[in-house]
């Protein structure tokens, strides 16, 4: 009798769950993302202990970061006449957030005057690079703050330092040695889902902490979604197709493990909800990237890749004339 009662209860519970998801039309992405994220997180956990045991000092990290950054700063984009003004503005935004980071490092923000550089990345020791292409996607300073906060948190959480350590170990370069030979691409490639989520969470917090709206981060993720494409929710036409897609995603996803923007946006919404952060008005971006924006729009529209120097001669971004240097913060 007890057995039958248990059976009935279990079947009833399972049936109720089944009916509920059917009636509520609950959607769930089909794919190995969850598994891959768990694997990536486990790998990260596995490396965290040795990384902690062998962690370099802040001074060594700053010295190594300076060396790598110096190499990156020698690029062509440094000749943009608008660069000093824009970098000063970026430094100002980041400077407001720097006091609230865990690690007290000299955070320095670098502008890459390339409309095709739709990215931002951080180097060990406090260097953050942001491309004109990414700024062109933004509409408000809150979005800019969320991006800079995110990159600063990669540094704050030792993500960059640990990657530097890993690379130096793999290349058998002493930390005090020729670190400039480590390509910047290593730091541009993104981090594990767990690390990205960590940087998102605390980067958003930093921006909010100094008065920016957390919706800036959400708007950035929505913009990134456009680059990632759609149709991830489409149901496969057969179990065989679904299995093929899952296997394919499993193989490719293992090497990516970078979270999708929708997932990051959802986590940020949950953070806002959990913390009861009130909505705030967003501020206009002080940088005008009309030229770069045109280029980016062409890219989003899927036009053939134009030459990199198509708009050469005209800076992709410039400071707005009416911009005020100071922004009142709490």
């Amino acid at each position: 009798m007890r057995r039958w009662a248990a059976l009935v209860i279990i079947v009833a519970a399972a049936t109720a769950a089944l009916v509920l998801v059917q009636r509520r039309k609950v959607e769930a992405p089909v794919g190995p993302q969850g598994v891959l994220n768990a694997i990536a997180e486990s790998e990260r956990d596995a490396t965290r202990v040795p990384a902690r045991m062998t962690r370099i000092s802040d001074d060594d990290e700053i010295r190594a970061g300076n060396e790598i950054a110096k190499h990156e700063q020698s690029s062509e984009s440094r000749k943009d006449p608008e660069l000093p003004a824009i970098e000063a503005h970026l430094q100002q935004v980041a400077g407001r957030m720097a006091p609230y980071t865990t690690r007290k490092l000299p955070y320095r923000i670098h502008y890459i005057a390339d409309p095709w550089f739709v990215n931002a990345f951080a180097l060990p020791g406090g260097h953050v690079f942001i491309g004109a292409g990414l700024i062109a996607v933004m509409e408000t300073e809150d979005e800019l703050a969320s991006v800079l906060g995110h990159e600063m948190e990669h540094i704050d959480h030792y993500h960059c330092a640990e990657r530097l350590q890993t690379e130096a170990t793999l290349r058998k370069i002493p930390i005090a040695g020729a670190l400039a030979s480590i390509p910047v691409a290593i730091f541009q490639a993104g981090y594990t889902k767990d690390q990205e989520m960590e940087a998102d969470r605390d980067g958003t917090y930093l921006a909010y902490r100094v008065g920016y709206s957390p919706t800036g981060a959400l708007r950035m993720f929505e913009a990134f979604e456009k680059f990632e494409g759609s149709a991830r929710q489409r149901k496969a036409s057969s179990p065989g197709e679904e299995a093929g897609e899952v296997v394919s995603d499993l193989l490719t996803g293992y090497f990516r493990s970078h979270p999708f923007s929708a997932e990051r946006a959802e986590a940020t919404r949950r953070l806002i909800s959990d913390k009861n952060w009130p909505p705030r008005p967003e501020r206009d971006l002080q940088i005008d990237c009309t030229t770069a924006h045109k280029t980016i729009n062409r890219y989003i529209a899927g036009s053939p890749a134009p030459t990199k120097n198509k708009d050469a001669g005209e800076p992709p971004c410039r400071m707005r004339p009416e911009s005020k240097a100071a922004v009142s913060v709490k």
Partner: protein, 940 residues
């Protein structure tokens, strides 16, 4: 020589002015005399015998012609009386023949006759010249009969008729189709009749010495009749007389064949009877037409056959059968033009024919068996029945419509099969099979394609359905004998019937219901097969069910239907799956297939097919997140059914379904985070899965049958899957920093369950899960940089919760250990007897590392020292030496740390606090060691 004779002939006909008729005749006579004299003289010499005989022959021929010319050739006419000339010619002919006979050479005499005929041929000046030919022919007949030179008669027949034809040709060529009368017609006909009569008389009266002579005579007899009829036909001035002419001539030939001499020689009897019968048969179309001809022929053939039976005469019987068969053949060849024309007269004719054939076949074949002992006769009697079947087939074809023809054929086939069964005739059975094959083929190629309707009903359904039913009926009736325990039925027709029904389903049903239709067919066949104990019907059901499955897999799964409505996929596949399960159950439980291993294996296969269909149906019909739940429910139902029905097939399918649900969960349900503020779909879809996995374990562990079948391992896997499911859910659902605490809570639960239920597997799992708790607690919670958004250091709460959880688990571990010690059961695995050991060290490790990370650097040693004392006290309480050593080890660690690190790096305040507290701790431990020395020794 021939040329010489011809030259003289021309000379006599030539209108020479210097030489009168007498002169010409004299010259002719002189030349003939010289030739004859020279020939006779030279013939004595052996050396010149051949040319001499040629001279003799030529001389006589010339003499004969001179006699002929003396009256008939104007240029040589010396006689005024035709009668005198005739006598003269007969005298010459007689002398000629008489003389050549002296040499007893058929060649010489033949040559003489040839010359005579040739001479006449080239001088047809009047119809009376034919009389010379007639006389010549009469002479030849006389010689033939006298000398028995029957080969010579062949020559004579040819010469006489062709000579006559040669004469006729210029006359007939002048005639028009409208007017074919010519004055010489009576004379010509009379002369031809005389030729025929003379040669026929010769044929009948002759004496035969050897077989070769009879053979030549037969040729002559056939030639005589054939040429006579051919030339009569050629000169036919009255076609309307043909019927009577042929009928009379046939009757005469038939009558002549019955003369005693003819019967005595046998061959004339055969030849003349055949000729007579043939002529009588041939006569009929000249007066009658259409079906009447066939009927009259058949009557004639049957009359001959019956006469043969009556008179016990094989020729009549054979002729009768031959006529019958040929007529039927002719009918059969012509009838296809009349297919589907509702030609009732023809149909009735064919039916009468068929009835006659079957009557002859059965009645005489059985009652007069002694008359059909010869292989040919017996074979013919059998063949005649096959012609009967063909006649039936054609009869139906001309009486039925295009659509119903197949049904008609099948009906006739059924009647024949029934008849064959009644009279026990293999031949008729075979004919029934043939008709049925034709019927089935027609149904396949014609009826299945028809789109017509009859009173609103599909004609295809009606006719093909009828054909299928009749096919089954034929299958049953064809072989009624019982073979052992099984009623043997003709498998081919039951297969044909089933194929027809299957095809009918394909044509008549909507595409999505075809597979269901086939499944229903398979079910009906299965039940029928079991009822009749028919292996073939069962196999048909297997094929139908497998085909239904394949069709469903390839066609139905995409049939989604309109949104909001029940999908065609659902209502087409679900019944099919139920039918497959039912088929499995029927085959498993039916006593009528007991011992049939293949049936058992196929039954098992049906369950796999059905389960696969249900599994796929779940995938297609449900939302992705619901599929794993559905599979798990389905697996649970299969599991219970497998136990109740004692079916390992169902149980293994359940294991696969549960494993599939488990795997799928990681690729779908785990990703379903849901919206904030509500229980996520991940939780309420995964928890039931875990419950189902645990249920399967509990059920397996408590079931003796499953344990006996070695399926206990599957249950254990189920238990591990359940725990893994919950652990995974905790990992994905809880905030990252609370995962370790969550897992530690699970440890407590698992160990508590293991203790309460005395199920060691949960103890294993609890202990095993403590290791990830420690790992996660250290690597994630403690080594992670602080969460800025949290605002406070959460490590105390998160890692501390994990430690507390492990503490609770440790308590449960002790209880579980005690229970195990009280009631040891079965083989023990790792941690079975000492689960608390791993739990304790896990807890201490995590706590120690946690203190190292969360305590201010100055207070780390103090906290470790307090921890060491606490552990030591706990060890004394628990009576565990390993714990006590662990506590001492922690204290030693503290001492070492003080000496190596703290003494040199700590601030003054931290230094004295550390030294005081640690010193007190060491003293306390020392006191306790002294106080409880004896007790401790006991433990040691």
């Amino acid at each position: 020589m021939i040329i010489l004779v011809l030259g003289v002939g021309f000379f006599l006909a030539y209108q020479l002015t210097n030489l009168g008729p007498a002169g010409k005749v004299s010259v002719g006579l002189l030349v003939a005399a010289v030739m004859l004299g020279g020939g006779i003289r030279l013939e004595r010499n052996e050396r010149y015998r051949i040319p001499a005989r040629a001279l003799i022959g030529g001389g006589w021929a010339l003499l004969y012609f001179v006699a002929f010319a003396m009256y008939y050739v104007p240029a040589a006419k010396v006689l005024q009386s035709q009668a005198v000339d005739l006598l003269l010619m007969m005298a010459v002919a007689t002398a000629m023949v008489w003389h050549t006979l002296r040499y007893d050479s058929q060649v010489v005499t033949g040559l003489a006759f040839l010359l005579g005929f040739t001479t006449i041929t080239i001088h047809h000046s009047a119809v009376l010249s034919l009389a010379a030919g007639a006389i010549l022919a009469a002479g030849l007949i006389a010689v033939v009969l006298w000398k028995r030179w029957y080969e010579l008669e062949v020559l004579g027949i040819l010469a006489a008729y062709l000579n006559h034809l040669y004469w006729l040709m210029p006359i007939v060529s002048q005639l028009t189709p409208a007017n074919r009368h010519f004055p010489e017609f009576p004379m010509s006909t009379t002369l031809l009749a005389l030729y025929w009569a003379g040669f026929r008389a010769s044929y009948l009266v002759r004496k035969i010495d050897e077989e070769a002579q009879e053979n030549v005579s037969t040729v002559a007899a056939l030639l005589n009749g054939g040429l006579f009829l051919a030339i009569l036909k050629y000169q036919a001035a009255h076609p309307e007389w043909a019927f009577w002419a042929l009928l009379v001539l046939g009757a005469v030939e038939l009558a002549l064949g019955q003369l005693p001499n003819a019967k005595r020689r046998r061959m004339p009897f055969i030849v003349l009877t055949i000729i007579g019968a043939s002529l009588m048969v041939a006569a009929i179309p000249f007066r009658y037409s259409g079906n009447s001809v066939a009927v009259l022929w058949l009557v004639e053939g049957e009359a001959l056959f019956l006469a043969g039976i009556w008179a016990r005469e094989i020729v009549f019987r054979r002729l009768g059968m031959l006529v019958t068969l040929l007529v039927t053949l002719q009918l059969l060849i012509q009838t296809p033009d009349a297919y589907a024309t509702y030609n009732w007269r023809l149909g009735v004719s064919l039916l009468v024919s068929a009835a006659t054939f079957y009557f002859d076949h059965l009645w005489f074949g059985r009652r007069k068996r002694e008359l059909f002992t010869h292989e040919l006769d017996a074979g013919a009697l059998r063949v005649i029945s096959f012609f009967g079947a063909l006649a039936l087939l054609e009869a139906v074809a001309v009486m039925a419509s295009d659509t119903w023809m197949a049904v008609g054929w099948m009906t006739v086939a059924l009647l024949l099969a029934t008849f064959a069964r009644a009279v026990d005739s293999d031949d008729i059975s075979l004919q029934a099979i043939g008709l049925a094959v034709v019927g089935v083929m027609r149904a396949v190629y014609i009826n299945l394609e028809t789109e017509a309707a009859w009173h609103g009903m599909s004609l295809r359904l009606l006719t093909v359905g009828c054909v299928a039913i009749l096919s089954y009926a034929i299958a049953v009736i064809l072989r009624p004998k019982r073979l052992g325990d099984e009623i043997a039925i003709s498998p081919a027709f039951s297969w044909a019937g089933s194929v027809l029904v299957a095809l009918l389903c394909w044509y008549e049903l909507r595409p999505v219901l075809v597979a269901t239709g086939w499944a229903v067919l398979g079910l009906l066949l299965l039940e029928t097969g079991l009822w009749f104990r028919s292996r073939h019907l069962r196999w048909q059901s297997y094929v139908a069910l497998v085909a239904a499955f394949l069709r469903a897999i390839t066609s139905n799964l995409d049939a989604a239907g309109a949104a909001g409505a029940i999908s065609p996929r659902l209502y087409s596949i679900l019944p099919m799956a139920l039918i497959l399960y039912y088929a499995y159950r029927r085959l498993e439980t039916s006593e009528r297939v007991s011992g049939d291993e293949i049936a058992g294996q196929i039954a098992g296969l049906f369950t796999w097919m059905a389960s696969l269909l249900i599994g796929l149906l779940c995938w297609y019909e449900l939302r992705p997140i619901a599929v794993a739940v559905a599979w798990a429910i389905f697996g649970l139902i299969l599991f219970e059914a497998g136990i109740s029905l004692k079916s390992w097939h169902l149980r293994f399918q359940s294991y696969i379904a549960l494993a599939a649900a488990f795997v799928r969960m990681y690729f779908v349900n785990i990703n379903a985070a849901g919206a904030g503020g509500e229980i996520s779909p991940r939780v309420y879809t995964i928890v039931p899965l875990a419950l189902i996995f645990f249920y399967v374990y509990v059920r397996t562990a408590g079931n003796e049958m499953l344990q006996r079948h070695g399926e206990g391992a599957a249950g254990m896997v189920g238990a591990y899957m359940g725990t893994a499911t919950l652990a995974s859910l905790a990992f994905f659902e809880l905030p990252r920093i609370w995962v370790a605490a969550g897992w530690s809570g699970m440890c407590v639960l698992l160990l508590a369950v293991g203790w309460r239920s005395a199920r060691r597997i949960f103890v294993h799992q609890g202990v095993a899960l403590s290791l990830p708790v420690v790992w996660r607690g250290i690597s994630y919670n403690l080594l992670q940089t602080p969460n800025l958004a949290a605002g406070v250091d959460q490590r105390w709460a998160t890692a501390g919760s994990a430690v507390l959880g492990l503490c609770a688990a440790l308590g449960a571990g002790f209880l579980a250990r005690r229970k195990q010690e009280e009631a040891p059961n079965g083989a023990a695995l790792l941690f079975d007897y000492r689960p608390e050991q791993a739990l304790f060290f896990s807890m201490v490790t995590l706590l120690t590392v946690m203190l190292a990370f969360v305590m201010r650097s100055g207070m780390i040693t103090v906290s470790w020292g307090l921890e060491g004392v606490a552990v030591f006290l706990f060890a004394l309480l628990a009576g565990e030496r390993s714990f006590r050593l662990c506590g001492l080890g922690l204290l030693l660690l503290c001492v070492g740390k003080i000496l190596i690190v703290d003494f040199w790096s700590l601030g003054l305040r931290d230094k004295w606090i550390t030294l005081i507290i640690l010193g007190a701790a060491l003293m306390l431990v020392s006191f306790l060691y002294s106080r409880y020395r004896e007790a401790i020794r006991q433990y040691l």
